[in-house]
Symmetry: C2
Subunit: 350 residues, 2 copies
């Protein structure tokens, strides 16, 4: 397997994606291609030794080779004809925006490019936090209670304070606030509505236990990394999230009993289901009064949560050989031919 | 407005889409571009006088000009440089498959091409019948009861016969059967599993009243066509659906009382919500014991349900000037620059 890491993208997490790609360069030793998706929608082939953050912030990447989407892979214009990149599998590392909302999945599928990452349905149900709640109900996974507010609708809360306010379609804590006093509500909603016409409000549960699990299914087997109890913080602010996306150092498994561990793993499998096949995802769970609640699905976790796996490269290798294959559909013209042989070529008024 | 009709696509409804495009040529008198998406994923510019079904079934379209996706519109290779098609708005008429599952929406959005049709989220929640049920719950719209079966799971039914069995992600009645006797169940499921790993089973309600409504929101205004009571049939088989997709003759509004009419319109608006903005959709409802139940959402109805509108061209014209605009996101490098000015260029290990 030769992997191409696709990163960047038009999103608030553009920079995070760069940091994440640099982290993966550190932890993956094999040969890698790096494909940068810039803010104008252009693709660029970045040499490994240029994978430094200022290569992108200064615009120096524009001296590298542009790439185009082509059937079966990204293509580079050659002297005589377009040449395909060697990589056989793309790792979608475009955090947020186009990477997680299903745009990148659609592009890669349309052009028959094999990829690790959430498929379109998985992307849509995890990028939109309201659909995540509906999806959780569908797979019978309890989640934190919620209410949906619209930018042009009433602002009456269904819950007592404190609540947490989240733009519906953004990741990485952007536009998120905890509201403790009634007079803070309007400002928090105004901020969130800067980013989305719809906002999710949830009761904020002080000091709740949180556990993160990352993993994937390869064929009939589950690969699930060490369970992490993330640092206790209300929620990570944007700067902390950035640091988080550059993580490469392994973490210790959370100190929890065997029952909770087994229950968390079951919860992960329930959420992953068949929907997330082809992706290595991270699920963040809360545990309150013994009940496990889904908080969030990260279908493209920061630095792919590499720090939770002993053999991260091996996980990607195995996953890449078990990617979901869409059923082949070969359109034919059976109906048109039938009608034409019966009536002569009369369909169409041209 | 100059409209480009995008049709074809890799789906079981490839031919239907051709029939539908030919029907639209009949009902839209203004200048139109026709863009054919063939079974290999190639785009072709079809002259209006070639819009006959055998132009596609014989492969003659390959003598027309190939098109490429380009920023802001489809492009044709010129003698010196690529030339953009004149059309300013694409009408997504790719029924089923790529057209309705969010692939086409993603391609058009990625390339900043304005289009009439369901957005990605709308596509995903209508193409997957299980997500449609969850979505209906989310917008508090009652739907027919249901159960999900997987290809590798048990086949025990939650309902008494008769039931209707549907592959999860196909439209146009493909793979759908009504099961009346226990001995018919396995065959019906085998057929459905030919098309999808997941199958939806619903109680089949004999002789239920059915009503179809098509429409869209343009700005703050609703445009809803005549309510149709479709011909009484168990369900339309594939040949009948084909004929249906070529419809251009206006139909009479169903003979229903004012209360039911108002309730059906309310139900339509509930389903359309904000999710389907930018699209002209058709919703099929059942009415049982006075209750309205959502049966199906068709985000790209056959021949765009033109026959339900008095001024169909005007509806498209108005819709095209009220397409949803994604919020502009301009990635910046504020974080990387901050880190670099504090620490020197140390991010990245190259």
């Amino acid at each position: 397997m030769k992997l191409a890491i696709l990163f960047g993208g038009v999103s608030y997490e553009h920079e995070i994606s760069i940091v994440s790609a640099i982290a993966l360069k550190k932890v993956l030793s094999g040969p890698l291609d790096f494909i940068f998706l810039d803010a104008e929608g252009g693709f660029w082939h970045i040499p490994a030794d240029k994978m430094k953050s200022n290569h992108f912030s200064t615009g120096a990447y524009k001296k590298n080779d542009p790439l185009a989407l082509g059937r079966g892979g990204f293509k580079k214009r050659g002297l005589l004809k377009a040449k395909r990149l060697e990589a056989d599998t793309v790792l979608n590392l475009v955090h947020g925006g186009q990477g997680e909302d299903g745009t990148v999945a659609s592009l890669l599928e349309f052009f028959d490019i094999p990829y690790i990452g959430p498929r379109r349905e998985a992307s849509v149900v995890s990028a939109n936090k309201w659909l995540t709640k509906l999806y959780a109900e569908g797979v019978e996974m309890p989640a934190v209670d919620w209410q949906l507010l619209r930018i042009d609708g009433p602002r009456a809360l269904d819950f007592d304070l404190p609540v947490i306010v989240k733009p519906l379609r953004l990741g990485s804590s952007i536009g998120v606030s905890v509201v403790r006093k009634p007079e803070e509500l309007d400002f928090a909603l105004d901020v969130a509505f800067e980013f989305d016409d719809e906002v999710l409000v949830e009761p904020f549960i002080e000091g709740i236990a949180e556990y993160n699990l990352a993993g994937c299914r390869v064929g009939d087997e589950w690969v699930i990394g060490r369970i992490e109890a993330p640092r206790k913080k209300e929620f990570l602010d944007f700067d902390q999230k950035y640091l988080d996306f550059g993580r490469t150092e392994g973490v210790q498994e959370a100190d929890i009993d065997a029952t909770l561990k087994a229950d968390l793993i079951d919860a992960f499998k329930k959420v992953y289901a068949h929907t997330f096949e082809g992706a290595l995802i991270r699920c963040d769970f809360f545990v309150a009064s013994g009940e496990i609640l889904l908080n969030e699905i990260n279908p493209i976790p920061g630095s792919m949560a590499n720090y939770l796996f002993d053999d991260f490269a091996g996980v990607l290798e195995r996953l890449s050989s078990h990617l979901p294959k869409p059923r082949a559909i070969r359109p034919d013209y059976a109906y048109i031919e039938k009608v034409q042989s019966a009536k002569g070529p009369k369909i169409g008024n041209g």
